[in-house]
């Protein structure tokens, strides 16, 4: 899937995560999290796993995590990619 337009998903509420995607000529991922000291590696892993699952090879991805569980990160990533992408 290719990111064709700007899109966002999620919120900045506790236990949620806010994801922005926009078209870009290469893949750029920025992650910040309120629990980055403890879980940055796991969040990073999940974000890249979802990008791979959807075949996203380029785009600017900005992630602002408010302590979301893995299943929430996956859901918000998928929503943002579907909203901004096309096959």
């Amino acid at each position: 899937m290719e990111i064709r337009k700007n899109a966002a998903a999620g919120t900045l509420e506790s236990s949620d995560i806010f994801i922005c995607v926009e078209p870009y000529d290469q893949l750029s991922v920025q992650i910040q999290s309120v629990v980055q000291e403890q879980y940055m590696e796991a969040i990073h892993h999940t974000v890249f796993q979802v990008l791979e699952e959807f075949g996203v090879k380029s785009g600017k991805i900005r992630v602002n995590d408010r302590g979301a569980l893995d299943c929430v990160i996956r859901a918000r990533m998928e929503t943002a990619i579907r909203r901004g992408g096309s096959r």
Partner: protein
């Protein structure tokens, strides 16, 4: 299946969805309808699907309220959640038996495609229109998946062109009609939520009224209401003791070869025994008996 309380949780609120099963309700309802803004429907169904897939509640039953059949959303709702095997689907604004058949047929298609047993997810129709109330029996008997009837008072009063009050006179007929229709099909009926989160006395009164009319449980929109509603719909200790005494008296009568048995000066007939068995069954479930 004991459903004293059924707690509505907004389908797009992760902090509520992931903690749903620790709030004490017998069932939680992940809401994809009214609690979700129109432009967030896609996000909510993906979030609910993932919650079911990776973080499925284990301490209570899961119900998904899907969007009404006159929208574009209900099919997509089912496509996302059915493969994750929720316990029940709650179609909003069920208006007739055909509505239930349409939902059930589509559920079967998805189940077949997903390779899961057809019929493994039930249906709990949400009756919240005047047409739905008048066709309650048709809805309850429309399909073997139907697990009960659920009354929605807010939309119903709008459809009735009247004001929703705490006393609930305006929905008295609908409540009775829903209970009769469900019971006629051997099913349970569940009452509409009490929407004033702060009025705990009003909640008790409304729950007691619902129980007295024959409802088996009630929806709640706040975790704060769970404990109170659970208490109202649970048998009291004296009811449990009386039920045990009834069963014991019946068994003693059988041992003695008696055709008629009395307890505390009153004859015990079949309905009393049936009610006693229902109360003991509820007690067993409350004590952590089999969940399903």
């Amino acid at each position: 299946m004991m459903r004293r309380t059924m707690l509505f949780l907004p389908g797009n609120a992760p902090n509520m969805l992931i903690n749903g099963d620790v709030l004490g309700a017998d069932s939680i309802i992940f809401d994809l309808e009214d609690a979700v803004a129109p432009d967030e429907k896609d996000a909510a169904r993906i979030l609910v699907r993932n919650t079911l897939k990776y973080q499925k509640p284990t301490a209570c039953e899961t119900i998904i309220r899907i969007n009404p059949l006159d929208t574009q959303e209900w099919r997509a709702d089912l496509e996302e959640v059915i493969p994750c095997r929720p316990d029940l689907i709650m179609p909003a604004k069920a208006g007739c038996g055909q509505d239930i058949k349409v939902v059930a047929d589509y559920m079967a298609q998805i189940e077949e495609q997903a390779g899961i047993q057809v019929g493994s997810t039930g249906i709990l129709p949400l009756v919240e229109t005047v047409l739905g109330v008048e066709k309650a029996f048709e809805i309850a008997s429309a399909h073997r998946r139907v697990a009960g009837l659920f009354l929605g008072g807010e939309d119903l009063t709008a459809d009735l062109h009247c004001k929703r009050t705490k006393e609930g006179q305006e929905i008295f007929y609908a409540r009775s009609r829903i209970v009769c229709a469900a019971r006629a099909c051997g099913l349970d009926a569940y009452d509409t939520p009490f929407t004033d989160v702060e009025d705990m006395q009003g909640l008790v009164k409304d729950s007691q009224l619902a129980r007295s009319l024959g409802f088996s449980g009630k929806a709640v929109i706040s975790p704060r209401h769970v404990e109170t509603v659970n208490a109202v719909f649970s048998p009291a200790p004296e009811e449990i003791q009386y039920a045990r005494d009834v069963v014991e008296a019946i068994e003693e009568g059988k041992r003695q070869g008696k055709g008629a048995v009395s307890l505390r000066g009153k004859m015990i007939d079949a309905p009393i025994v049936k009610r006693a068995m229902q109360i003991l069954d509820m007690e067993r479930q409350m004590m952590g008996g089999d969940f399903q």
